[in-house]
């Protein structure tokens, strides 16, 4: 056991392991690129959808059930399915990651919108704001803490799941996990897993800190 951890330690800290096209630095950059791009696409889909449902109150059924749908979706299954349909490219990976992230974003955005005090919305309309002004100047800023929580949640899920890129022969930190498994190299598997976990934790803490800073004037 001790030997395993000491091997893991030297694997993680060796200079040669960090450099080169299959080094940790490069794989990390790939992993972040997949994750951020997928979350960005998911935001572009999920945020307007959640805002629209929250603002109009129509389609609440969709927003609520999307959450359980997202949890039940088998990501690897989806990758294989899209891979079979579209052939070998990054498309199956992005489709799966986006499908994973959208529900968290829609559900949290919707939850944030419904939590806005109806008196405040009423006052906004009563002061003469038009529908889009109420949305942009009142509902969106007030829902923002919960919207950001949704984005954070989505990003963490995506970072943890982006290892599947390696499953269909692409890069990212999943490379170490899948290669390690194939080569029966436990240290490499463990190294990849630890790196993915570390990236997720660092991003989560960073975003939580950012949220606290941005919303320091808000009450609970």
């Amino acid at each position: 056991m001790y030997e395993l951890f000491s091997n893991l330690g030297s694997w993680l800290t060796s200079g040669t392991q960090w450099s080169g096209s299959d080094g940790i630095a490069h794989r990390l950059a790939e992993h972040l690129q997949y994750s951020l791009l997928a979350t960005l696409i998911a935001t572009a889909i999920g945020l307007p959808l959640g805002l629209l449902i929250g603002h109009t109150g129509r389609g609440a059924f969709l927003a609520i059930n999307l959450a359980s749908f997202g949890r039940a979706l088998p990501t690897v299954g989806l990758v294989v399915l899209v891979f079979l349909a579209s052939g070998l490219s990054m498309t199956p990976v992005y489709v799966s990651l986006v499908a994973l992230a959208v529900p968290a974003i829609v559900t949290n955005t919707y939850a944030g919108m419904t939590a806005v005090d109806p008196d405040v919305k009423d006052a906004a309309r009563g002061q003469g704001m038009r529908g889009h002004q109420v949305l942009l100047h009142v509902e969106l800023p007030l829902a923002l803490p919960l919207i950001m929580t949704g984005l954070r949640l989505a990003l963490i899920q995506v970072v943890a799941t982006a290892t599947i890129a390696a499953y269909v022969s692409f890069g990212g930190l999943g490379r170490y996990v899948f290669d390690g498994l194939a080569q029966r190299d436990l240290v490499q598997v463990l190294g990849g897993a630890v790196l993915v976990a570390a990236v997720a934790v660092v991003l989560d803490l960073g975003l939580a800190g950012l949220q606290r800073f941005l919303f320091r004037h808000r009450t609970a």
């Binding site: 008196d119 006052a123 009563g126 002061q127 003469g128 704001m129 009450t219």
Partner: protein, 348 residues
């Protein structure tokens, strides 16, 4: 001037909120809509700025049918204050007040300058302007709500139970300030409340509603108190409505004479001739001197409490001008009732 002409409001669930309402709210005056919950007073108010659309009938503000105007433009020209203040929690107090000027495209600098001016108008410090709404007390939040409604200087102000959620002491302060502001600004105000005392204090005219959205009586406070239209109105005004009428009359016309010398009780003054207390051989009783603009009700209260049945009258500086007797006050109280009945009798 706001005119309701045969206005009817029925909600999709079938309840009638306002039933065939025809009512004029005069320009520059305070019209109070009063009644128990579910009587349609708030719906009536909200139809004026189209927060609720009437089912039939017409509502005119300044002669123009409200349904023929763009709803958002209409609302920007009408001040609106609601019970829980409805302030935007993510904006500073100053930016809350600047809302409507910004919507009207006045530019940030000008809107903020106007907002700063209004902080002062409603009795808040410049420091309060930099805070967020949740950092203020309930009473201060309501002041901000009023300032926000006044920011674009609208001729009409709608107030939906604006002082309903603050404690009685603060409520009285806010009412006093509204009366003071109204003296300067002469807005056409529509004010909704379920508190009849508030209605009597603030209203130039009071419209009483009954469940089902029926307007029962619309009259000046003294007409209403002297001649309630039916038992419902009389019950709503309460058993003390005779005394409430006295709260509308001032002491100014009640005669006063010199303070008595050598009786059982003497009025003790300080060097500036300001009343200190009533004194007999072995007791002192506090005195609450009254000014000319204090009400007959306050005078009645004071003469019941004072040992000789006399009230001490002072000028604006608090210097004694004379005393009035219980008989003088009673005579004027009776006269106030006779006058109010005679006036409304003649009108009817």
């Amino acid at each position: 001037m706001i005119q309701f002409d045969a206005v009817h409001k029925r909600f999709p669930n079938g309840t009638t909120a306002v039933h065939d309402l025809t009512l004029d709210m005069p320009e520059g005056g305070v019209t109070v809509l009063v009644g128990s919950s579910g009587c349609g007073k708030t719906t009536t108010l909200r139809m004026i700025n189209r927060m609720v659309e009437p089912t039939s009938g017409t509502i005119r503000v300044g002669g123009r049918d409200v349904t023929r105007q763009d709803a958002a433009d209409l609302r920007r020209s009408i001040g609106y204050v609601i019970q829980q203040s409805g302030l935007f929690p993510h904006r500073t107090v100053l930016d809350n007040i600047a809302t409507v000027p910004l919507l009207l495209g006045h530019g940030r600098r000008r809107a903020r300058a106007r907002a700063a001016e209004l902080l002062d108008t409603v009795g808040l410090t410049a420091e309060a302007g930099r805070r967020y709404p949740h950092q203020l007390s309930g009473g201060q939040q309501q002041r901000v709500g009023v300032a926000r409604a006044l920011a674009a200087d609208p001729p009409v102000l709608l107030m939906d139970e604006p002082f309903g959620a603050v404690d009685p002491v603060v409520r009285t302060q806010l009412q006093d300030e509204l009366l003071r502001l109204q003296k300067e600004l002469s807005k056409t105000i529509v004010f909704v409340t379920h508190d009849i005392d508030e209605a009597v204090r603030l209203g130039d005219q009071i419209a009483i509603f009954r469940t089902g959205g029926h307007l029962v009586q619309c009259a000046t406070p003294s007409e209403l108190l002297a001649r309630p239209a039916d038992d419902f109105v009389a019950d709503f005004l309460g058993a003390e409505r005779g005394l409430k009428l006295l709260s509308l009359k001032t002491l100014a016309d009640v005669p006063q004479g010199p303070a008595p010398e050598g009786g059982a009780w003497t009025l003790v003054l300080d060097e500036a001739r300001k009343p200190l207390h009533w004194a007999s051989k072995d007791a002192e009783i506090p005195v609450r001197p009254l000014k000319d603009d204090d009400s007959l009700l306050a005078a009645l209260n004071e003469c019941v409490a004072s040992p000789g049945g006399l009230i001490a009258r002072v000028d604006a500086a608090g210097v004694l001008t004379g005393v009035s007797s219980r008989d003088d006050i009673h005579t004027h109280a009776g006269q106030a009732h006779t006058d109010a009945r005679a006036r409304t009798g003649a009108a009817a």
